[in-house]
């Protein structure tokens, strides 16, 4: 049974018990109240009535005596006080009789109405006698009062009331004793009932308390015992003894709790087993993970090292191209700087010689007026001789050539510097700049000219192409790389005639294309697939990093979203094709920015 049901039933039983006891007590009380409220008041009432009527009867006797005596006295004495006395008493007597006839029982009422009539007859005669007295005929009045009719009536009246009073006296005693008995009986009954009821209520109360305590103990025990068992089991489990058994002894809430607990325990036992297995698994997995992590760390380290190495190699390739660039530029500059510097030095010598000759002419002019002709002629000879010795004629003729040569040399230097600036204007891979591939090719050619010009002729077929957004430095690095490769390939053939490198540019709808082909040795088909691989090189050891084309590929394909293709027609050299996307919108925007910059910054270095 459920605890709640048990509790409700227990309390219901106690409530019913109390109700029954209450009901019985009420019944007992009713038993007491019956005689108290009905019999006793009835007895008292009857006694009271009898006593009252008796009183009234006595009053009637008394008032009758006084009124008849007063009327007689008035007739004999003619004293007005008696007449007054009579008038005072007469209504009282009438009232008392009337009252008695009203208050009395059936029999009494009949009796008193007779009394009433007799009294009225007497009162008529008495009033007539009083009137006769008042008229001054007392004898007439005495006659009436002494008449037999009057006396008969008076005797009857007195006889009747006397009988009634004496009869009443017996009845009064009877009534008195019977009501006393009734009261005594009722009191006794009530006392008995109260005694019994008190005893009963006491017994019932004690029984109710015992019952309540018993029920409480039973119910609490039925709740507490299984709970205690459950708690003990829970404590055991808490200590880690998860194989503790739980017995379900009831099917109430505690029982349900126990059964839930048992289920939970079973789950726990299963889980614990799984956890043990899992722990084992985890340990093994951790070991595996540890070793994997070690392997991963090693790999990471290796990767890091490789990245560092790669960046070093990329750096060295970059340095190598910078080196080539610097070497090429320095070499290109050497010649013009060499002869311009030499010419400048010579010019100084020329100046000294010319000054010397000038000096001689000045001296000659000074001496023209003071000296004679012979001396002057000697002087002229000396001048002429000096002029020959100093090769002045050659110098004068050579001066214009010297200036032309030097100007041309300075132009060459200027051009190289200009191209160098164009070649790697902004080498910022994050910020692309506006680039015309034709300009890029020209700038790059100046730089690589020195490498190419003795081995190959460069033929250019440059079409008008739109400007694109890209990293100038990077694209030029690619051009330099491909051109250098072409030159070196041709050179490696050690052929008698010069090779030919053809550079072609054109634009499609969305791409700018640059083709660089050479008539050098073609790449063998098995090597063709590898040429963009890092570290792949066909050059002798130490001659190339093998990164040039892989970096070029990265620049064109990854950084510029273009394409770098190689075409290998055996026996006809190699053709590289660079394709760069045209992004018209962005190019336009960039150009506007650049124009604004130009406007804002008029002086530019």
């Amino acid at each position: 049974m459920r605890i709640s049901q048990r509790l409700i039933l227990g309390f219901l039983a106690i409530a019913m018990w109390v109700a029954v006891v209450g009901h019985i007590s009420l019944y007992q009380l009713n038993q007491i109240s019956d005689p108290l409220s009905n019999d006793i008041p009835e007895s008292v009432k009857s006694i009271n009535k009898t006593a009252y009527l008796d009183g009234l009867s006595q009053s009637i006797r008394y008032y009758h005596e006084v009124s008849t005596q007063s009327a007689r006295n008035y007739a004999f004495t003619q004293d007005k006080r008696w007449k007054q006395h009579y008038k005072d008493i007469e209504p009282e007597l009438d009232r008392v009789i009337k009252d008695a006839s009203e208050k009395g029982g059936e029999k009494d009422r009949g009796f008193f109405s007779t009394i009433y009539k007799v009294n009225h007859t007497l009162m008529e005669m008495e009033n007539k006698s009083i009137e006769l007295v008042d008229k001054g005929q007392p004898e007439e009045a005495i006659k009436i009062l002494e008449s037999s009719k009057y006396w008969d009536q008076k005797k009857n009246f007195e006889q009747d009331i006397g009988d009634y009073v004496s009869r009443r006296g017996i009845k009064y005693d009877e009534a008195l004793s019977s009501s006393t008995r009734a009261v005594n009986l009722a009191t006794k009954q009530a006392q008995d009932l109260i005694k019994t009821s008190t005893r009963l209520i006491l017994i019932f109360g004690v029984v109710a308390i015992i019952l309540a305590i018993g029920a409480g103990l039973l119910i609490s025990r039925s709740i507490y015992v299984p709970l205690f068992e459950l708690k003990a089991a829970a404590d055991e489990i808490g200590k880690g003894k998860i194989d503790t058994q739980i017995e379900i002894t009831s099917n109430d809430e505690v029982g349900q709790l126990a059964s839930s607990f048992k289920k939970m325990l079973n789950d726990l036992q299963k889980t614990t087993t799984s956890i043990d297995n899992l722990n084992l698994e985890i340990t093994e997995r951790k070991k595996a993970e540890e070793s994997v992590r070690h392997a991963y760390e090693d790999l990471e380290k290796a990767n890091q090292e490789m990245k560092e190495m790669q960046s070093q190699l990329v750096q060295s390739e970059k340095l190598s191209s910078i080196g080539q660039l610097a070497a090429g530029v320095a070499h290109e500059m050497n010649t013009p700087v060499g002869f311009v510097a030499s010419n400048f030095e010579t010019l100084e010598k020329y100046m000294i010689k010319i000054e010397k000759l000038f000096q001689m002419y000045s001296e000659l002019i000074d001496k023209i007026e003071t000296s004679d002709k012979a001396v002057l002629l000697d002087k002229v000879d000396a001048i002429s001789k000096s002029r020959n010795e100093m090769k002045i004629d050659f110098i004068l003729k050579d001066l214009s050539v010297l200036f032309n040569d030097s100007r041309e040399g300075i132009d060459r230097v200027t051009s190289i510097v200009q191209n160098l600036r164009d070649f790697s204007r902004k080498d910022d891979p994050e910020n692309f700049d506006i680039y015309n591939i034709n300009d890029g090719i020209r700038a790059t050619l100046v730089v690589v000219q020195n490498e190419i010009k003795y081995d190959a002729d460069v033929e250019m077929e440059l079409s008008e192409v739109p400007q694109i957004l890209c990293s100038t430095g990077q694209i030029n690095q690619v051009l330099l790389n491909i051109l250098m490769n072409a030159a070196q390939a041709i050179k490696s053939q050690e052929r008698d005639d010069k090779g030919k490198i053809t550079i072609r540019t054109y634009a499609t709808d969305d791409e700018v294309v640059c083709e660089i082909s050479d008539d050098g040795p073609s790449i063998e088909p098995d090597k063709l697939a590898k040429i963009f691989d890092p570290f792949f090189t066909t050059k002798p050891v130490g001659k190339g990093t093998g990164l040039g084309l892989s970096i070029s590929y990265d620049i064109i394909v990854n950084k510029h979203k273009g394409a770098l293709l190689v075409d290998n027609s055996v026996g006809k050299g190699t053709k590289f094709t660079i394709k760069l996307p045209i992004n018209k919108k962005e190019t336009e925007k960039e150009r506007m920015v650049e124009n604004n910059e130009n406007k804002n910054c008029i002086i530019r270095g």
Partner: protein, 144 residues
Amino acid sequence: MFRKKKIIEMRTVLFVDDDEAILHSLERGLLDEPYNRLFTESCQEALEILKREEVHVIVTDMRMPEMSGLEFIKIVKKEYPHIIRMVLSGYGEEAALQNAVEQGEIFKLIPKPWKLEGNFEKLIRQAVEHYNLQNERETVRQKN
């Protein structure tokens, strides 16, 4: 002194460079030098000159079309071993030529750009004197 000067005046130096401006600058820069000077723009022409003229020192550029300076020097060494060979070398060529210098194929390198009074004139004269010394040793040996 007079004799020595006379000897040097008898010496001839041949300059080979594909750049006319270089030849011009050398011609005018060495205007007052005592030795004879010949200038040519190509190795082929230089070899032609060597056939006609007596040349004692050659100064050649390295990078030239058709034939490089080094190839030219090799030919000269083979054909005219007594001629003192010098190279007018530009940036980055010294290392490549160091081997040739060590093997005695080249007497000396003249770096570009040069200083006429600083070292160019001096180096040419050293070469001429070297030729003279070499020639004298040869003469003595022949006499003996």
